[in-house]
Amino acid sequence: MTIRLKDPLPPTLIGMVLLLAWEGAVRLFEIPHYVLPGPVLVAKALWQNAPLLFNSLWVTLEITLVALIAAALGGAALAFVMSRARWLERSLLPYAIVAQVTPIVAIAPLIIIWVDSAFAALVLCAWIVAFFPVLANTMTGLKSADPNLKDLFRLYGASRWQTQTWLETPTALPYFFAGLRISGGLALIGAVVAEFVAGTGGAATGLAFRILEAGYRLQIPKLFAALLLLSLAGVLIYATLSILSSWALQRWHGNDL
């Protein structure tokens, strides 16, 4: 499912009204800025800490993107391998499910201890969270080929490889992209959670680390600014993946899918 903003005016208006109400409420009730800073203060904090925060945004995005690419490749490849042989699916899928259902907060400390490179550890955490939707969706897709088309391939004596590349893989493509869009959000969550767990050890300098840091120092406007960037990153990832997938599906499937 793709959410498209056909007309950006209503949400923009609502946003303005909410921001005004927020600022008004903060001033009216004299809420201290370490409890709830107004939007003006947040904007100021963002402006003042821009180099630092954008740097951190980049760090988080980098972790997320590397994990997402690895999830896309790894998930699709694993699905492909599993669809080749039933015994492979039976022996591998349970472990994929275990990795999926175990809360990442619980495994992250171990991974951070075991993996030397902080970057690699964070990527690994984000990957573990992100790869399953791609895997599960692609697997479903590979099995969704029209039975009549499968019969047709069989009738003409197609090899397993031909059926897989010319029928099953193209059929799976929309499923893969649907999985990828879910994985995009999850990869970001995975990266942030892992950074939180890694804590203020000094290794990580992503946005989650900035949020933690600002929280400890009671720099609440800065915390809000970091939060804002984080949401922005999420939206950015979702939008990019949506555009990418509709572009790819347009090319492959025409506009009916």
Binding site: N148, R154, Y156, G157, Q162, W166, P170, W252, G254
Partner: protein, 253 residues
């Protein structure tokens, strides 16, 4: 035509019991005359599709066998037209028709002449670059027929190919099929629910009983001509009437 020609194939007491115990076919025996259009006519669920699948090699009989006059056809020598067009949605018309050649390892160049010929047989010239979703239901069916014909099969199996189409389109495609049949040398087994369609198209009709399917009558049809005008003649009505009577008889317990 006269059906004195030797049968292309004879089904020999074919039965099919599915693993869940459903008996679809029971001792089906009949001939398919070489070069004919033979229709399988019977109520829904009587095993017509199952029978086609067994003849094509997609399914196996539980008992009985098929006797081929001469060599049994090799892979790729049988064309199959399914009830829906069954096209690759992401591929254009040309690529869809190319599929059997591609599976067989033929280059696009090598397949070009055969594909162009098939496209013109079904009158789809100019639509080669269209994708299935850009075509009407009737046109999609024609692509499916072109794909089956392009490889020049000796046997063409058609499983209610026009069942989902409106009557106008169906009539036109019936005429197209008869016209195409004139120009190619192949035997056609045609499954249908429609008595009129069966009588109009066929040299021979095998009437089947309700499940478990048996062939209860093999009727040769010898219409004096096959064109739109014949549909309103007494001769046509009479042929339809006698086939209908056989069907009704078969439904009676």
């Amino acid at each position: 035509m006269t059906l004195s020609a030797k049968p292309l194939l004879t089904t020999n007491a074919i039965s099919r019991v599915f693993p869940d115990g459903t008996q679809a076919l029971d001792n089906v025996s009949f001939d398919i005359p070489q070069g004919s259009i033979t229709s399988l006519l019977g109520p829904s669920g009587c095993g017509k599709s199952t029978l086609l699948r067994i003849i094509s090699g997609l399914d196996n009989a539980s008992a009985g066998d098929i006797h081929w006059q001469g060599e049994a056809p090799e892979t790729g020598e049988i064309g199959f037209v399914f009830q829906d067009a069954t096209l690759l949605p992401w591929a254009n018309v040309w690529d869809n028709i190319y599929l059997p050649f591609r599976i067989n390892g033929a280059s696009r160049e090598a397949a070009k002449a055969a594909i162009e010929n098939a496209v013109s047989l079904v009158a789809l010239g100019g639509f080669e670059q269209h994708r299935p979703h850009q075509l009407s239901g009737g046109m999609r069916m024609r692509v499916s027929i072109a794909r089956a014909l392009a490889t020049n099969p000796s046997l063409l199996l058609m499983d209610e190919p026009f069942g989902a189409l409106d009557e106008m389109t169906r009539f036109r495609l019936n005429d197209d099929l008869l016209r195409i049949k004139e120009t190619i040398n192949c035997t056609i087994i045609f499954v249908t629910h429609s008595v009129f369609e069966a009588v109009y198209l066929s040299d021979k009709i095998a009437v089947m009983s309700p499940r478990p399917g048996r062939v209860i009558a093999e009727e040769d049809i010898a219409l004096t001509s096959r064109d739109a005008a014949i549909r309103s003649t007494a001769e046509f009505a009479q042929a339809c009437g006698s086939i209908s009577a056989l069907l009704t008889e078969s439904e009676a317990p």
